[in-house]
């Protein structure tokens, strides 16, 4: 009998800090066991630029919320190309730290950071270049933009939590995180 087809997994970090990706790597040598079951499509670890460029992806994992137009674009691309989409970490689940700007006016924030703050080089202005993705008025969790199938909260979720969740999922059962593995901080 042939070995079962490896599942294709893609990952991305949007308005996150890469902490969730670091935590993913924190599953340590179990990564080798995981690689028996999966292969990577687009991730910060490969050089594939577009999700699903090499055919449909089974599982998409996204860290970070949505804070700019490019995030929206990448997220929609993932949704269109992944059978299962997982929201990984506090920022993707409820906006997290970046969303703590949500009650402030975006123009005021940009001005404070780029023109009125002390210690700026003279002539510093709010960046305005067609190459830069436009910042959204508010940061949003992923599920406010596309349908999300599973959520793993935590800042970041521990390697053990990610491992437990993924192995449950790969075994075809509803993922559970018991006491100590589920956390919001």
């Amino acid at each position: 009998m042939n070995a079962p087809r490896k599942l294709k997994v893609a990952t991305a970090s949007l308005a996150g800090c890469f902490g969730c990706h670091m935590s993913f790597l924190d599953i340590d040598e179990r990564l080798l066991d995981l690689l028996e079951l999966i292969e990577f499509d687009r991730t910060p670890l490969t050089d594939i630029k577009h999700v699903g460029a090499n055919g449909p992806v089974d599982i998409g994992i996204i860290e970070g919320g949505v804070c700019n137009a490019e995030n929206v674009h990448v997220l929609r691309d993932f949704r269109a190309n992944c059978k299962i989409l997982i929201s990984l970490g506090a920022c993707s689940v409820n906006g997290g730290l970046p969303a703590q700007r949500n009650h402030l006016d975006l123009r005021d924030i940009l001005k404070a950071v780029y023109s009125t703050d002390t210690g700026l080089a003279s002539g510093t202005q709010v960046p305005n270049d067609a190459e830069l993705p436009l910042t959204l008025n508010m940061v949003h969790p992923l599920h406010e933009v596309v349908k999300i199938d599973y959520f793993i909260p935590g800042c970041p979720p521990s390697g053990d939590a990610i491992w437990k969740f993924l192995t449950d999922l790969l075994a075809g059962q509803t993922p559970h995180l018991g006491h100590g593995l589920i956390h919001y901080d």
Binding site: L97, H143, I182, Y184, D185
Partner: protein
């Protein structure tokens, strides 16, 4: 005088007349989720986390008097789902960023989220614009996390005799206010030793200068889940029969 019993999910629970379903359950070591219930105060019945079904109808177990022969459903998939939805609504209604909250690890809302495996707030976030009041020398008031359980209001009025807090507004505009002309906590006689400074189940009323002092792993709900802490919530002798 344990004369009568009722049952919760098939388990017989003894009770004394005057006890609520919640009080009898906790006394018997049976956990029912709760947020606005506090063993030392009259029940408030506002958070609805303690909802159970009695003879097929929903009821708040913290306000419902126990009666002989009641058939109470608590941990059924249907009720657990409803409780999850309530927690999710509380989470999106305020600003709950646990990684930067000093109450994290000691918070009942968070601990219940873990207990019921709430992986996501599910609903759209409100991201309300709520004030933080740092005017008091010893206590920080961060209203972003208030769930309107009124425990601080009850404690300040009934135990401290100070009436430092009240509610203002109705429906979705309802919010906690400080009874001072300026609206600032620093302009009241609120003190760290007040009962009202000890009862907030979430991270609103926070003693200053001790934030994050206890490392992760040693916080109140790190070692064991909320449901393993039933003993802390057993009704005190004083609160028995004091229900109104």
């Amino acid at each position: 005088m344990m004369s009568d019993t009722f049952n919760i999910d098939g388990q017989e629970i003894p009770f004394t007349p005057g006890q609520s379903v919640m009080q009898a359950a906790l006394t018997a070591g049976v956990f029912i989720p709760h947020l606005c219930y506090h063993p030392e105060f009259r029940p408030h019945g506002s958070c609805k986390l303690c909802t159970v079904k009695v003879n097929g109808r929903p009821a708040s177990s913290c306000t419902l008097p126990a009666a002989a022969g009641m058939e109470v459903e608590s941990n059924t998939p249907e009720i657990l789902d409803k409780r999850r939805s309530l927690l999710q609504m509380l989470l999106v209604e305020g600003n709950h960023f646990c990684p930067s909250c000093e109450k994290s690890g000691n918070c009942q809302l968070q601990a219940l989220g873990y207990e019921l495996e709430v992986f996501t707030p599910h609903f759209n976030q409100f991201y309300p614009n709520r004030p933080v009041d740092a005017s008091h020398p010893d206590i920080l008031l961060d209203l972003n996390r208030c769930i309107l359980c009124e425990l601080c209001i009850r404690a300040s009025a009934e135990v401290d005799g100070k009436n430092v807090f009240s509610l203002s507004g109705r429906g979705i505009t309802k919010h906690l206010i400080v009874n001072a002309e300026s609206g600032k906590l620093g302009d009241t006689d609120f003190a760290l030793t007040d009962k009202a400074a000890q009862v907030c189940p979430v991270g609103v009323i926070l003693p200053k200068r001790i934030g994050f002092a206890v490392p992760i792993g040693q916080r109140h709900y790190d070692a064991a889940p909320f449901s393993a802490h039933v003993d802390e919530f057993k009704p005190t002798a004083a609160s028995q029969g004091e229900r109104s």
